[in-house]
């Protein structure tokens, strides 16, 4: 059953298109999906995820469980960066600020990985809850704060960078596109419910998986290019971190899921969130807050190593793990 799960994930069209893009980039094809088109698709995907989650939340009353899960999600996002930082400082030669910035990425999440997990679960006939989208949104930001704490710990306070303004980091972190669209669409889905959704489902629900194929083709190209350009920057310790850290995140999360009695589907999603690493929201925030950290390091790791790992092997593993701990 588990090898079947791995195979069906690996042979799903979205993963195959990702692999196509990855391969093309590694073979140095010049092909590309135009940036603005891909960014438009990304906004579509976040709207669709948010709406779907919101509509499902509107169908059932909020249970106390949800707060327990939210608590675990927050703890994970805040806490994992500290663990990741220690690992990086021990196993690689990364500087303090690079390690802190990288650690922040692993506390936060990748929404595409989350979506891919949802699809794999659906394929396997395992149900999930709409409010897990809210957990995803909840886990985006806290890790950024932990990264700042880590980077500034024990340093003498530097002067402000010229031209910086009060509130700019706050806006970058809390009002970035993925937070605004995800939380906004969640709220709109919740407010309008099934009735409002009906009319827009032909755009946001039915073609969703197909759009995902196109988007993942682009993600494959990006991941492949990131890897080709950046892997020289990374030593063996850093590279292996990109695969070990998700596994550690998963291993930490699984018992917590069991503790608070999560369903298999929701546990799989929370484990996936913990195991995934950000490559959009956190890098942008890090450039503002920790400009001395090198983007080529943390981007290569999260987009070039961790994302492909999770998408192909990680997700089926996390589902299997969830089948052990979930009820």
């Amino acid at each position: 059953m588990s090898s079947e799960l791995i195979l069906s994930t690996l042979l799903s069209p979205i993963v195959l298109f990702f692999i196509l893009g990855l391969g093309a980039a590694l073979m140095r094809s010049q092909m590309s999906v135009p940036e603005s088109f891909a960014k438009g698709l990304a906004i579509y995907l976040m709207m669709a995820i948010g709406l779907k989650g919101g509509v499902e939340m509107s169908k059932t009353a909020l249970s106390p469980d949800i707060f327990a899960i939210a608590g675990v999600a927050l703890v994970l996002s805040f806490g994992m960066p500290f663990l990741a930082y220690m690992m990086l400082r021990v196993t690689s030669k990364m500087s303090r600020v690079d390690a802190a910035a990288t650690a922040g990425h692993y506390g936060s999440i990748s929404i595409v990985t989350f979506v891919a997990a949802t699809q794999a679960l659906q394929l396997a006939g395992i149900v999930t809850s709409g409010y897990m989208v809210a957990m995803a949104a909840l886990m985006e930001v806290p890790a950024i704060m932990s990264a700042l704490v880590l980077a500034r710990r024990g340093m003498k306070k530097e002067g402000e960078v010229a031209g910086s303004e009060k509130g700019e980091l706050f806006r970058e972190v809390f009002l970035n596109a993925s937070v605004v669209v995800l939380v906004g669409a969640l709220a709109i889905g919740w407010m309008t419910g099934e009735a409002g959704m009906e009319k827009i489902a032909p755009f946001f629900v039915t073609p969703f998986q197909g759009v995902l194929c196109l988007f993942l083709l682009d993600m494959g190209l990006n991941a492949g290019r990131g890897l080709r350009q950046g892997w020289r920057q990374l030593d063996a310790g850093a590279l292996s971190f990109g695969i070990i850290m998700p596994l550690i995140g998963a291993a930490l999360t699984a018992p917590l899921c069991w503790l608070i009695g999560m369903s298999i589907g929701d546990a799989a999603l929370l484990i996936t969130l913990a195991a995934s690493a950000s490559y959009i929201a956190v890098p942008a925030a890090m450039r503002l807050a920790l400009p001395k950290a090198q983007p080529s390091i943390y981007l290569t790791l999260s987009l070039g190593v961790t994302f492909p790992f999770n998408l192909t092997l990680g997700i089926p593993l996390y589902i299997i793990l969830a089948q052990w701990v979930g009820g």
């Binding site: 590309s32 999906v33 135009p34 940036e35 891909a38 990304a42 960078v161 010229a162 031209g163 910086s164 303004e165 700019e168 993600m219 190209l221 990006n222 290019r225 990131g226 350009q229 950046g230 490559y279 959009i280 929201a281 956190v282 890098p283 942008a284 890090m286 450039r287 503002l288 400009p291 001395k292 983007p295 080529s296 981007l299 987009l303």
Partner: protein
């Protein structure tokens, strides 16, 4: 025709607004910004669109101004490109309408 200074500032996109504030605070009358699509520096190539966070994109700001304004602006810019990925160059140009710069 009037002699002015032309400032060409390349700055990573996340710090773009900071550069704008510096220029505006120094009393620059105007600037225009362009988005680069590829580049090379520190032995590494980058290309727009590869990095989904756009945090490696470079912006080039062009601003024409008087000699005395450029002197005011340059210290803050030096601080900025000390922290952020960026570089600048200055050249001599002539313009038609003195009052616009």
């Amino acid at each position: 025709m009037f002699a002015k200074k032309r400032l060409e500032l390349s700055i990573e996109k996340p710090a773009f607004k900071r550069a704008c504030r510096i220029l505006e605070d120094a009393g620059v009358k105007g600037y225009t910004a362009f988005s680069a699509f590829a580049g090379y520096g520190g032995g590494m190539r980058w290309q727009k669109g590869t990095d989904l966070s756009a945090s490696q994109d470079m912006i080039m700001i062009i601003s024409v101004m008087d000699q005395d304004v450029i002197e005011k602006v340059i210290d803050a810019l030096e601080n900025l490109i000390g922290s952020h990925i960026g570089l600048l160059n200055i050249s001599d140009v002539t313009v038609l309408r003195d009052e616009k710069f």
